[in-house]
């Protein structure tokens, strides 16, 4: 069964805005959360607004459950208000003059229910999202996490066949984000239609999405499960997001000659040709002297150019052949008295290198 016929979303579309072009092909089966990950200006929000009908396509088509929403070739276009779409906006856009209950009842009412029927439809979602005690509040009396729940309830109350979430957690402070994220995951699991979730936070994408699409400069650069993408990033951007060192190179049996200079000894996969090598920053060992011979096969000199304190560790920016990002403990930084300019040796085991073929579609 094709996803379109079973209630899925199919997008094969182009949106041109001035000199920017978004060209995307994707399919979201019902019940699945498709994460759209990408840097600012990649076209993530444009994609959502095209699907919602706020931006018409310049080429291609969008279908939902086999029904055309927008088709540039034939001119078919379903107006925003007629699309069975629930949209959770980045800053929620809750109507400030309406109470929580009225916000949630807005869609049922706008879609033609009477006052009383709309209220009972809203009550269902208010209960379901645990908002009963907040029903009479105005949006400016809500915390970030509560507003997020109201926004979700408001979108779901219209009984959409498709859910669009634009950076649903970015307006929250770090403290509440994890709780709200866990809660959002539960509610998304209950939603039976396809769901598109735009984010620039890789962790959010990894936790919430069933499959991931990475968008850069209007194009999809990688598509796969979160695990695949986290382990084998296809571009520098993705590698940075998931916190991996990524190198391009040329494999020849047990050796990879890197484009940026240097050579890695790898566990032989019998690979030949263009490959990507990913290394976790915590997999590398930093020493201040040339290490003793050991089972680790790769050792090279490097210079510390920067130190960044992360939550529980320090990320070292190292210049060498190749350059690298390495995570060490604050205690290690103190003990080795590392500072910008320090000369060090880097060591990494061949088995800690993730080596995979570079496909042609990947830049």
């Amino acid at each position: 069964m094709t996803p379109e016929a079973s209630g899925g979303l199919a997008v094969d579309a182009e949106v041109t805005r001035g000199s920017f072009t978004l060209a995307v092909t994707l399919a979201a089966p019902p019940g699945q959360v498709v994460g759209v990950l990408g840097p600012n200006g990649a076209g993530k929000s444009t994609l959502l607004s095209a699907i919602a009908g706020l931006t018409p396509l310049s080429a291609g088509r969008i279908t939902l459950a086999g029904q055309i929403l927008d088709d540039a070739a034939t001119g078919t276009f379903v107006e925003v208000s007629r699309r069975p779409v629930g949209f959770v906006f980045q800053n929620y856009r809750l109507f400030p003059h309406l109470t929580v209950a009225e916000n949630v009842a807005f869609s049922p009412r706008a879609r033609g229910l009477g006052r009383r029927a709309a209220k009972s439809a809203a009550d269902h979602w208010i209960d379901r999202l645990g908002l009963a005690s907040l029903a009479d509040r105005k949006p400016d009396q809500l915390s970030g996490g509560q507003a997020q729940r109201v926004a979700l309830a408001r979108a779901l109350a219209g009984q959409p066949a498709l859910l669009l979430l634009d950076e649903p957690l970015s307006a929250l402070d770090a403290g509440t984000r994890l709780d709200v994220q866990a809660e959002l995951k539960r509610h998304l699991a209950d939603f039976t239609g396809p769901c598109l979730l735009v984010t620039h936070d890789p962790l959010e994408a990894l936790v919430l999405a069933d499959q991931l699409i990475v968008l850069e400069a209007g194009h999809i650069v990688q598509h796969g499960t979160p695990a695949q993408i986290a382990r084998q990033p296809a571009t520098d951007y993705v590698a940075k997001l998931v916190g991996l060192n990524l190198y391009t190179g040329h494999a020849d049996g047990p050796q990879v000659k890197l484009t940026a200079g240097g050579t890695f000894i790898i566990a032989d996969h019998g690979l030949h040709g263009d490959v990507l090598v990913a290394i976790r920053p915590s997999a590398m060992v930093v020493s201040t002297q040339h290490p003793q011979p050991s089972s680790a096969r790769n050792t090279w000199p490097a210079k510390v150019t920067g130190l960044t304190l992360l939550a529980d560790r320090v990320r070292l920016d190292l210049q060498g052949q190749p350059p690298a990002l390495v995570d060490v403990t604050p205690a290690a930084v103190a003990e080795l008295s590392l500072s910008p300019g320090s000369q060090v040796w880097l060591t990494v085991k061949a088995t800690d290198l993730e080596v995979y073929t570079r496909t042609s579609s990947q830049p």
């Binding site: 919602a52 949209f87 109507f95 979108a155």
Partner: protein, 286 residues
Amino acid sequence: MVTRTAPSHLTAPERARRAARGGASRSVPAPLLVPALIAVAFLVLPLAGLLIRAPWGRLGVALTGADATQALVLSLWTATVTTGVSLVIGVPLAWVLARTTFPGQRLLRALVTLPLVLPPVVGGVALLLAFSRVGLVGRYLDYWFGLTIPFTPLAVIMAETFVAMPFLIITVEGALRSADQGFEEAAATLGATRMTVFRRVTLPLIAPSVGAGAVLCWARALGEFGATITFAGSFPGQTETMPIAVYYALETDPDAAIALSLVLLLVSVVVLVSLRDRWLRGGSVQ
């Protein structure tokens, strides 16, 4: 040249002020202070004169004189009807100007705002040419319906609307332009048609501006003189509004003129106070 430190005295409150707000001396140089004081005197003295010369003892008598009461009542109800009419037709026009695009829109906006700068008497002449019994439209109104507009209370309302409605329109249009259209987009994704969006989201969000525009429109209508006297004349009880009554009473019954002027002054002060948040908050208009 060497800058010499020349100590001066800083009072404790001034110290506190500078510490709180920052900034250097706030003293006013004489070449600015003197003209500023002249301007203040020029604006305030006439109003003071009005208050000083007011027949406070017999204010009640002056205001309850038949002509004065008639003018007061006529002015109040025509200004109110004018505001109502302006809301009904002006707010939709403001929406059209702010939320749609069509050829000639800039020209239309210019035409709509023209009455703001047009001498009201010219507006009166124009209304007369359009709606008098021999006017462009008036002749058909007369011919088909036997309707004669000039020199009736209806003419007063039309003259006031012509002059005052643009105040409402530009206020509301400005509010619509600066309003966050994200809410309207959100409403559309929730299934609301454009009309529902307007009724349930746009209008409630700009309600404070609509209110301010209505107050402004009402105040302008209440003070309307030139267009009204040209198009509607000055028949006591029929078309003689307060400003017109003041003008004529000045010759026959100065006390009544001053009393009516005080009423208009009071109304203006009330309007100003009601709009203070928008206008009197130095600099930043919301």
